[in-house]
Symmetry: C2
């Protein structure tokens, strides 16, 4: 099994003023342990289903993927939010950069992959331009079946497929609720292939369900290794979970409202986006579980280094004391390149490798931040592969609910997205939303003198 | 000329509690005007060169690009930070999604484009795998010529080119200082083609110099229209600049330390990254121009909608009162698609278009945020093309220095990136940095008990 290490030296007062001392660490560890025991109770009673996903039987998914392999040149994934960010994370981490530009043979007979997430007509049109319906497979993913963006994109793509193929239903698989919802009904009535998202697994915790596993298998990833990595987060990793949760909570309580996820790897860029969703949507809440108004939640930020050393680090180092940074370090970068310095002025690089430079820059940035009193932690993984990516998913899927539950926050709901959705339904004249349309039209009147 | 509108209704106390009232608006407008007059003085005395870039002669760039058109299948851009984010913004906005997957003919004989920004060995290896040296053109971009990541990637790519082509120098163009620096010397000695970054244009303000224009021209973009759009930000747009700067400053002074840039367009995703660099690096400063320690700067965040409605909006709506949101609205989405609803449950979408849904969702989110007292502004543009992208670049290039100069902050330096760079040089054993290596080794000793 891969090794994972958590280094929290620079979150401690011994190194960074205002960090945790021993008694603060113990206090927050107590709180984290309480959060963890609440989470484990929700696992036991079947509410928090994501923890048990590593034990699922993947044989149907693998059989399905094997049957499709080599048959299609393009795979379009229709989904958004929790139905898109997980598979995007897997693609960015595990497929080579520029994968879609490679030939069918270079891709090992696996399809190109397109994410129809945004309802941006330009993006959707460009995807459809590039694909040939006869040669394209569609996976439409929405647990509820009613997500408006997914519905809109699916309708547009279905029409394109319907015009361009003899038997469109053989080109479509739906990943949705096992029994309920619009998409389940449509899929069953139309004879689409289907896979189910377990009822006790919420959208943003669903990457290790068929939501992520089916597209991953269709793209040739080793989904059993992914689950093996995720399944490695067991009791012997609780100390890491508790420590990270404790430090996050301490800094939340001490005026640092920004949580920076900072991998030193282009391949983990989407992992940072995925983390931002899980953190933001799970912890950003107006009310706690007792109904008190709390306006809870710190703001997650993605920073991909070294790129963001040339963008955000100036602010992170010199700006206000409002951030905690989590570095992700990759010990071994695959396909590393030795630098042969052709020109005298670059001789200092001779003999070093890109991967070595990469990790040196992490150490240098960590040190520079420390020197202006900016706290950080570091998660180190051995390399990037199915196992470590699976382990990172599960690590964060533990930490974030632990923080929420320890602070009396429900990490599994998202009440704040309803209102906007209902206004949109109203403006679209959906049945039953006339009152929202009216409310919008009455309340949201603007003044012309506030427009320039 | 394209129209641009700034709507700040929901930043005003008349609509959102805690927003600006008339007197606050007037006060901050005064401050902004002072910042603007300081900026215009720096333009007059030749310090702030970016403002005059729209007037440059582009004939050499266009001639050069015309000569190269059709001759290469791949273009690798070697650069990072200010030498990468601008052209990335142009590519995301103006090339079709999935551009690199298109055939040579579909691309109009323009090359595929690869960004060698990060020193991630996996990324660089994957790029070189895909390209054939004889068929590849390299543009290496660094104003100083010494940026370590660009040097490292350039050396690796040069070696690859040197092994695979007869005359590597005919495959390389350098964009760098007109006279000084390592890359200028190497380029002149080696006979590379070169273009110059004006001495009075800093890296993050350089997108409208050859840094952005040369790659843009090589990819078939209309660089004159880009400059025309940028050049449209003249005195008659000062009211927009002053208003936006005023509102940003007001909320900075009133406890909102997070600045969310939220385009409703996948094509403006990199524009938000570019904005984040310009804002973060220009305003995040430990000291003001008088030498007082101020730990200045709010933190910019990118949120691309509607994607981030399913990720960040829960937090933005329900979480703490610590953000100001700037929406970017695109009035007309090209290649819009009417929705034909195949299934009964999706009938409410019938007759609407993706672009219409897109803009309805913006209105709905703006309304939902307003209802929990979260302030926002909205910049509306007619469509996305060279002119509007150029105009957005210049608008933000004005606003951010205006904010800085109004607050006694130097928006044109970045002292905070030096320390980390010097530690890295030390660890790489670069001549003259032995003391930094020693300092690192002495100071940054960690404790094993803070590792789990």
């Amino acid at each position: 099994m891969q090794r994972m290490k958590v280094d929290f030296n620079y979150a401690m007062d011994a190194f960074v003023k205002g960090g945790l001392d021993d008694s603060a660490l113990e206090k927050y560890r107590e709180k984290s342990r309480m959060g963890l025991s609440r989470l484990l109770k929700l696992v036991d009673d079947g509410t928090a289903g994501f923890v048990n996903l590593p034990k699922q039987d993947t044989s149907d998914i693998k059989k399905f993927a094997k049957r499709l392999n080599g048959k299609f040149n393009d795979l379009i994934l229709v989904g958004i939010g929790g139905s898109a960010l997980g598979i995007e994370t897997l693609c960015t981490a595990l497929l080579p950069h520029g994968y879609n530009a490679r030939s069918f043979a270079e891709r090992g007979a696996f399809p190109r992959v397109w994410l129809a997430d945004n309802v941006d007509p330009c993006k959707i049109s460009a995807i459809l331009d590039e694909c040939n319906p006869e040669d394209t497979y569609i996976v439409v993913i929405t647990k509820s079946g009613s997500t408006v963006e997914t519905a809109a994109n699916f309708n547009v793509i279905f029409e394109w497929l319907d015009k361009g193929t003899k038997d469109p239903k053989t080109h479509i698989c739906a990943v949705t609720d096992p029994e309920d919802g619009t998409l389940r009904k449509i899929a069953d009535n139309s004879g689409f292939a289907t896979f189910s998202v377990p009822k006790n697994v919420g959208g943003r915790f669903s990457v290790l369900s068929p939501v992520g596993l089916l597209p991953a298998a269709l793209l040739g990833m080793d989904i059993d290794k992914l689950l093996e990595g995720a399944g490695s987060i067991t009791a012997d990793k609780y100390e890491k979970i508790i420590t990270l949760a404790s430090i996050y909570m301490y800094f939340m309580d001490n005026g640092r409202n920004i949580n920076v996820m900072m991998p030193y790897s282009s391949r983990l860029a989407s992992m940072a986006d995925w983390f931002c969703q899980l953190w933001g949507e799970s912890l950003g809440k107006q009310f706690d579980i007792n109904g008190n108004e709390v306006l809870f939640g710190t703001t997650p930020i993605k920073a991909v280094c070294v790129i963001d050393q040339h963008s955000q680090v100036q602010l992170f180092k010199e700006g206000p004391q409002d951030k905690i940074v989590t570095f992700i370090e990759v010990n071994k970068h695959e396909r590393d390149k030795k630098i042969i310095a052709e020109y005298e002025d670059y001789k200092y690089l001779e003999g070093h490798s890109l991967g070595e430079l990469f990790n040196i820059e992490l150490l240098a940035t960590e040190a520079a931040l420390k020197n202006t009193g900016k706290p950080s932690m570091k998660i180190s993984i051995d390399s990037i592969d199915e196992q470590t990516v699976g382990a990172l998913f599960m690590l964060f899927q533990y930490i974030i609910p632990v923080v929420g539950l320890a602070c009396d926050i429900d990490p599994f709901d998202q009440p704040g997205v309803e209102e906007g959705k209902n206004y949109a339904y109203g403006m679209l004249d959906k049945d039953g939303y006339a009152d929202m349309k009216k409310k919008y039209e009455e309340i949201f009147v603007k003044r012309d003198d506030f427009i320039v």
